[in-house]
């Protein structure tokens, strides 16, 4: 069994860099995307086990991406964790409605994020 694949999607390169580094250190195979369209394309190509999805992005926001992913039967097993700056419960609810499995509010601690990822997939 190979490494578990994670797709991290965020429009801010710095945080993307940070997340990529941490996850790689944990032993995941990390792919990145900078916007919604990009994310769908990469997901199609690499078939990740888990997607870290930022909500606020140019060209298709996180909710839209998540909704589109969930429409596809071949990606039913893919876990989705939403990352957002919005902390309101309403946002969280909306995320879960479109099919996200988990929700992480920025700013988050690396340990929290890793724990949530580990609970879903083993590296």
């Amino acid at each position: 069994m190979g490494k578990k694949k994670i797709l991290a999607v965020d429009d801010e390169p710095n945080i993307l860099m940070s997340i990529e580094f941490i996850l790689e250190m944990e032993g995941y195979e990390v792919h990145t995307a900078r916007d919604g369209e990009d994310a769908l394309e990469v997901a199609e190509r690499v078939r990740p086990d888990l997607i870290l999805l930022d909500v606020n992005m140019p060209r298709k926001d996180g909710y839209e991406v998540c909704r589109l992913l969930r429409e596809r039967a071949d990606m039913a097993g893919t876990k989705v964790i939403m990352l957002t700056a919005k902390g309101q419960t309403l946002e969280k609810k909306k995320g879960l409605e479109v099919g996200a499995d988990e929700y992480v509010t920025k700013p988050f601690s690396a340990e929290d994020l890793l724990e949530k990822i580990r609970a879903m997939i083993e590296p």
Partner: protein
């Protein structure tokens, strides 16, 4: 006065005039009638007595004649009985003496038969009383021999008809005459039509009796029948119908009665006239008293009867004078109280006007009766709309109902009750305030007070700051999250390559930059919010300039008058005056050096520019001006530039040739948008409405108009001035005015008044009356333009006019010209009403009535002046109507009609 006006005098049950007429007539006529009646009866008795005695005498004469006749028969019979032939026949010794008997029979024509019946044969008995058989009277005489032995009976039959002839001359009218009858009521002789009188007590006498509805007089005498045993066997009566006996008396009496009736009528007429003489001063007093007590206390009763009634009038006038004095004092006190009230009201008005909260007062029926300017602005109501409309049309109805219900439920007289309310309006405004009960005089619930504030319109700067604040977490969260992540990674993975570490640190520095940039932006927003503009107040720029010039000591400032009107500006006055002082002082120090400073005000493009000019080249640094510090006592120092900007103003300098100018511009008050106005600029007074409106206003359907109480109706009093009085011959309206009366008050606010272009020349003789000349009406609208406006103005109100027929004709002609339907509102005419109320008084012209009622006409023969006078007269007349039982429009119209009819009828005599 109000109590008097409402009191309704008891309805007159008796008329003094009628009583006077009846008593006077009675006094003159009754004794006459009694005397005549007595005389009549006395004369009638006398006439009766005379007639009766005559009849009795006549009866006596007839009776004597009858007795004589009967005596003759008796003697004849006795002579026959004594004859020896008769005795012989009866004793059987001689034959029947036929010749003897027949000769005896022929000697008396009335004898119809003589017979001799010997004793022992039937009917041979002698009898003392004659027997009446058929038309005959049978007389039997016993025949005896000389020794007294009865031999038989001599029977002689007389024809009763024969007796009749004895009374023949007694003709006493139909059915009168002589009659002979027995006491058994058997008629022996006489006309069968003659009624039989009752039997007289005495032998001879007269009686009156009635029979078959007629009354009769009769003279009666008793007669002894031939051979009778009692003297009253038969009665002889002479009967005469009373009508014949009294005929002459009656005809004379009829003539007398006719003259008596004529006399009564004459006396009654005289009594009427006398009653009128007595009544006139009394009525004068009554009418005067009515006017004094109800309309004009200064009216005086004029009676020159010279008697006690005049004294009464004088005393009454004295009473009125005292009353007027007392009333005057009362009025003074009321005026004082009103003045105090007015002051309070003005204070309240000022408070309401300047309140930063909106205030709405409503009556118990939830109709708005007061709205302060702020409320109007917040609610977006025009100056006139809003008053009188339902609260639920202004505020969200259901929410309002909820709060009102709670308020009503929880309200307890004598206790304060308020309800905190929040009203979101349709236009997005959010109002927060408190709703409370306005107690009435009796402690009841009289209305509601709503004080509110608009939460949704913060200042521009405040809004921007608030928005910045709201967005800030969003803006900060990203960089913070990234930084945290980067730092954590660095901490967790200290073993990472130096190259990687460098990348991470660079990223971190980038994030820190973003973070600080966003914090700076927030700071900027906060500063802008803090430095927001000052609330502006509309002020007169010229006054502010004067203020500044006066405060700057030791400087010669010449204000140039431009002559143009300078509109008010929006400014915080104190800081603005301080700014101008600062500029002047600066110019004084740096520039002029003793030269006068020119100042002027100009309107430029929605702004008012104040220019200060010195006529010398400027030596200082113009940029210095911005930074000059204003430091009023007790406040933080503020640079001049900022002070000007806080006042929404601008400051700049200009050098041209040898002069230097400093200019300060401010926004005109009128140029500020409505939204800006809500910041603190409020114009106008709160409208105070008649607080009677605390009572819910009744709403009338048009068909109910006629039965509505007169006091509750809306009226429009109309008056027109025309080029002349011949409307049908081309005279036209040149001015028309309408005045509204509502709830018994003249509404000075809503007056309709316009000149009208008659489309023809105004004759000079009519100009003399109304002083409206041709040039004045040339620019005026035509009547066909005015008419629809007037119809709209009148609405459903009842029209009132003096001599309404004329004004109605004017309006109808205008309707025809404009091609519109005629105005069909009910019309009341003050002329008719005055006629009907005071028909005894002469003079119902507008002047005469106005003088009587104590109404002064300001501007007689201007349509507005006349309409106003008519309105006041109408209101005065209205107070008199309830006493005449007139309360509704229908009754008022009937009242006018009734009295006009009366007047028309009297005018025919």
């Amino acid at each position: 006065m109000t109590a008097d006006q409402e009191a309704r005098p008891p309805r007159r049950k008796k008329s003094l005039r009628h009583r006077l007429i009846v008593s006077l007539t009675g006094l003159a006529v009754l004794p006459l009638i009694v005397a005549m009646a007595a005389l009549f009866f006395v004369v009638r008795d006398d006439v009766g007595g005379i007639h009766g005695s005559q009849l009795a005498q006549e009866a006596g004469q007839f009776a004597d004649r009858l007795r004589g006749e009967l005596q003759r028969y008796h003697q004849t019979a006795a002579a026959l009985a004594a004859l020896p032939e008769v005795r012989g026949y009866l004793s059987g010794s001689a034959p029947f003496p036929k010749e003897l008997l027949s000769s005896a029979r022929q000697s008396i024509p009335m004898i119809t038969g003589i017979d001799l019946v010997p004793a022992g044969r039937p009917a041979g008995q002698g009898s003392s009383t004659p027997l009446v058989s058929g038309k005959n009277l049978e007389y039997r005489l016993a025949v005896t021999d000389p020794n007294g032995k009865p031999l038989g009976v001599l029977v002689i039959s007389y024809a009763l008809e024969g007796l009749q002839q004895l009374f023949a001359p007694s003709q006493k009218g139909k059915p009168g005459g002589a009659v002979l009858f027995t006491d058994g009521g058997q008629r022996l002789a006489g006309d069968p039509g003659i009624p039989l009188p009752p039997l007289a007590e005495s032998e001879t006498g007269w009686v009156t009796f009635g029979s078959g509805g007629e009354s009769y007089l009769a003279g009666v005498t008793a007669v002894r029948a031939p051979g009778g045993t009692v003297p009253r066997d038969w009665f002889l009566a002479v009967v005469q119908p009373a009508s014949q006996a009294f005929g002459h008396l009656y005809s004379v009496s009829r003539q007398v009665a006719f003259f008596v009736i004529l006399f009564v009528i004459l006396v009654a007429a005289l009594a009427w006239w006398m009653a009128d003489q007595y009544m006139r001063p009394i009525l004068e007093i009554r009418r005067g008293a009515e006017i004094i007590s109800r309309i004009n206390l200064d009216h005086r009763i004029k009676v020159d009867a010279g008697d006690e009634i005049e004294e009464l009038a004088i005393e009454f006038n004295l009473m009125a004078e005292n009353l007027a004095r007392a009333y005057g004092e009362l009025e003074g006190r009321v005026r004082e109280a009103t003045r105090t009230l007015q002051e309070e009201r003005n204070r309240l008005a000022t408070v309401l006007r300047t309140m930063v909260d909106g205030v709405v007062v409503a009556n118990e029926a939830e109709e708005t009766i007061l709205m302060n300017p702020r409320a109007r602005i917040i609610l977006g109501r025009g100056y006139t709309s809003g008053i009188g409309s339902a609260l639920s049309r202004i505020f969200p109805g259901e929410r309002l109902g909820f709060h009102l219900k709670r308020l009503r439920r929880g309200w307890d007289p004598g206790r304060e009750a308020a309800e905190e309310v929040v009203f979101p309006l349709r236009d997005g405004k959010l109002l927060k305030g408190s709703l409370s009960v306005v107690p009435g005089t009796a402690g009841e619930q009289a209305g509601f007070l709503l004080v509110f504030r608009d939460l949704s319109t913060p200042t521009e700067e405040g809004a921007r700051f608030e928005e910045t604040l709201r967005e800030m977490p969003q803006l900060l969260r990203g960089p913070v999250a990234t930084s945290r992540s980067l730092v954590e990674t660095l901490q967790r993975h200290r073993e990472m390559s130096a190259e990687k570490q460098q990348a991470f640190l660079t990223a971190l520095a980038e994030e820190m930059d973003r973070l600080s940039g966003r914090v700076t932006a927030m700071e900027e927003a906060a500063r802008t919010a803090r430095e927001s503009r000052w609330p502006a107040i509309p002020s007169n720029p010229r006054e502010l300039l004067d203020e500044a010039v006066v405060s700057v000591a030791g400087l010669a400032v010449e204000i140039e008058e431009s002559g143009d009107p300078i509109p008010p500006v929006l400014v915080e006055p104190f800081s603005w005056v301080a700014s101008m002082e600062c500029v002047l002082e600066w110019l004084g120090q740096r520039g002029a050096g003793g030269l006068p400073i020119g100042a002027n005000l100009r309107v430029e493009d929605g702004t008012v520019v104040t220019t200060f000019r010195v006529k010398c080249p400027f030596a200082g640094d113009p940029a210095e001006l911005e930074t000059l510090e204003l430091s009023p006592e007790g406040e933080e120092p503020l640079p001049l530039g900022e002070t000007v900007r806080k006042n929404r103003g601008e400051l700049w300098t200009r050098s041209c040739g040898d002069s230097f100018e400093v200019r300060l511009a401010l926004m005109q008050a009128g140029a500020v948008s409505e939204g800006r106005r809500a910041d603190g600029l409020i114009e106008g007074e709160p409208e105070f409405y008649n607080f009677d409106l605390f009572l819910p206003r009744p709403v009338f359907e048009r068909e109910e108009l006629l039965n509505a109480n007169l006091a509750d109706l809306d009226y429009v009093v109309v008056d027109t001035e025309t080029t002349g009085l011949q409307l049908s011959q081309g005279d036209k309206v040149i001015s028309i005015s309408g005045i509204r009366i509502r709830r018994g008050r003249v509404q000075n606010a809503g007056i309709f008044n316009t000149l009208v272009n008659p489309g023809r020349l105004i004759p000079p003789e009519s100009v003399e009356i109304h002083h409206i000349e041709d040039y004045m009406v040339t620019g005026a609208p035509s009547m066909s333009e005015v008419y629809p406006q007037f119809v709209e103005y009148v609405g459903d109100a009842v029209l009132v006019a003096h001599n309404a027929a004329f004004d109605k004709k004017c309006l109808d002609m205008a309707a025809a010209e404009a091609g519109l339907p005629q105005i069909d509102n009910p019309i009341l005419d003050t002329l008719f009403l005055s006629y009907a109320l005071h028909q005894e008084i002469e003079g119902h012209s507008l002047e005469a009535i106005a003088a009587r009622m104590g109404v002064t006409i300001e501007g007689r023969h201007t349509s507005l002046g006349d309409a106003r006078a008519t309105a006041h007269i109408f209101l005065d007349l209205l107070t008199l109507l309830p006493a005449r039982g007139v309360r509704t429009l229908a009754e008022a119209k009937a009242f006018c009609d009734r009295h006009l009819l009366l007047r028309w009828q009297t005018s025919r005599f």
